[in-house]
Symmetry: C2
Subunit: 133 residues, 2 copies
Amino acid sequence: MFTLDPRLAADTIEVTRLPLCRVLLMDDANWPWLILVPERVGAVEIFDLSAPDRAVLIEEMARAAAILKDVTGALKINVGALGNVVRQLHVHVIARFENDPAGTAPVWGAAPRRPWKPDDAERFLEGLRTRLA
Amino acid sequence: MFTLDPRLAADTIEVTRLPLCRVLLMDDANWPWLILVPERVGAVEIFDLSAPDRAVLIEEMARAAAILKDVTGALKINVGALGNVVRQLHVHVIARFENDPAGTAPVWGAAPRRPWKPDDAERFLEGLRTRLA
């Protein structure tokens, strides 16, 4: 049975569940930052998924990216599955802005984590949930 | 007509061409590092591609990642489409190792670029081309 990696669980707030992926909000208000986790036991690399699951994954990634860009007015969306620290396959979908705390660098390690204020998170999540439903 | 971004062209060596993507080797021997560029004019985000192109893209990503892991014995493959500097849609596929120059951090900006020695690059490319063909 699929269980979410404890570190991902600790660092995020659940947004919604799509057919393949659990969608999480990274609890770091420096960037609007989603994480998509395919609910497949033992998947580490994208080639661990079946081809049909991969086809669903990239559609869910594209949909999350398009909605995130639309909702935030981002300049660019970063998408990435790195897994250097947490091995459970997960895909970052991150809204980037001109003059954001990481400049043109990747976000990981670029700024101290700044937890969302509960009211701001609730508002942001509500908009996302409506669009992702 | 599709043309490769000049910065991508300057930093890489062409490996091969797949049905959708041009496959490039980043000219940085710190990591075995491929870049897949969908040959589609004006694509910046994954949601700029058509759904059929996206389905091909994730298969080409998975195939490149699996081959790269197999050929290098990597601990983990990083996959990412960031685009903070070069806007033309391109997907990094990077082999990571225990104690590599970036540790558990992302590779971008982690170490000075170390161009491949021509003989090493040729040997590595030959193996990749055979497997990707």
